[in-house]
């Protein structure tokens, strides 16, 4: 099972509390995990990545295992600890600054 932690606003939109756990088939990548997330919670489509281009929205970050994975290719494998469910993939709203 893949674990995903969403920011508070997206948990509200999806009407969930706590972590999301997902069954993901095939290689465990940003792309496959987000596909599974959006299939389960279609109201999140467009909030993490663009509807059409599928690119990450500019102020969204992907963290896991104390690494920033935001700039990894969407089809690159996520860390083994994420793939095994030992660690969650964190979807994070970037710091606003100021």
């Amino acid at each position: 099972m893949i674990r995903v932690v969403l920011p508070a606003h997206l948990r509200t939109l999806a009407r969930i509390d706590g972590e999301v756990t997902l069954e993901v088939e095939g290689p465990i990548t940003q792309h496959s995990v987000l596909n599974a997330l959006e299939a389960r919670y279609p109201m999140l489509r467009g909030t993490i990545r663009d509807h059409v281009t599928q690119k990450r929205r500019p102020f969204i970050r992907f963290f896991a295992c104390e690494q920033d994975l935001s700039h990894e290719l969407p089809d690159a494998p996520l860390p083994d600890a994420v793939a095994t469910g030992a660690e969650p993939l964190l979807v994070v709203g970037a710091m606003a600054g100021g």
Partner: protein, 395 residues
Amino acid sequence: MNKVRLLVGTRKGAFILASDGTRKHWDISGPHFAGWEMYHLKGSPADPNRLYASQTSSWFGQIIQRSDDGGKTWHQPGTPPGEPTTTPDGMPKGESNKFVYDTSPETGKPLTTHQHYDGTQRPWEFKRVWHLEPSLTDPETVYAGIEDAALFRSTNGGQTWQELSGLREAKGKLWQPGAGGMCLHTILLDPNHPERIFVAVSAAGAFRTDDAGNTWRPINRGLKSQYELPDPDAEVGHCVHRIAMHPSRPDVLFMQKHWNVLRSDDTGESWHEISGNLPTDFGFPIDVHAHEPNTIYVVPIKSDSLHYPPDGKLRVYRSRTGGDEWEALTNGLPQRDCYVNVLRDAMAVDSLDPCGLYFGTTGGQVYASANGGDSWAPIVRDFPAVFSVEVQVLP
């Protein structure tokens, strides 16, 4: 006795304010969608309990929300509360926040480009929904004015959206964003001619269709933008801030432009200035009295670089003569040390008699007048910055 419902969009959520016809005591619910920028909420004239809302965020993008019970509960259209979020064959339902510009059917490439700040041509790129305008007759039909400027329509209650891309053929290549972005913020539906729609775009101008959105043309003759455009009389490029009409007389339009207040008596074919004795003719909102089509309201703002009222005095100005002659309405409004702004969608007029007026400020106050503007009182003083105010009169 009638009830009155105000729909207030703010920088940090939406609020619903309810009163009876006296409009003295208000119940407040909210914040709905706390923490999100709520650009606009509006109810369907055909079904007042059908509300549409634009919820947006720099982080998470655009969400469309809908209520079918007057704002008690909300859902994203196509994903009602308690129902599965996928169709029986497993397909996601969530398309209600998908605003995709039309592309060339032959090449798949963008239909048009627009001017960018650096003089290059750029394709349109969706940013957010500024304004939602429900159909006058069908609760399922609603228009969305978006940034980058375009008009979209949904005919299934906001579940899916299609662009009316003929608008961008109205010299769209020459449009370019102003400092506030290139947004379509005003949508006026003509009650006498269902196929006629007026829209206004910041830094592009006003446009009209007479065939339900298939073809459009600029309607900016008479607008003068002497310090904003190299050609002050250009066909497009004028920074229109807001247009208003009275439903009994839809051929007459009133406009608050970046600078200048104007009027058209011929469905926008030509405009003439009616700024008259206003202390400044810069401003954002403009509205028309519910029962007096020649009585109009503006909120003068000192200038485009200052964005606050002249002399620290918050004054609504009323003209009972359709323009040119204006009187300051100050009773109950702060007349010293006031440096707030009133944004283009943040004024509304109710249909009771006497007519009620409402406006919200960037300082978080919502003011109400139950007597056509003669006197004012704050309903709230400490909301987040107010983006939009709409009003509904309920049986």
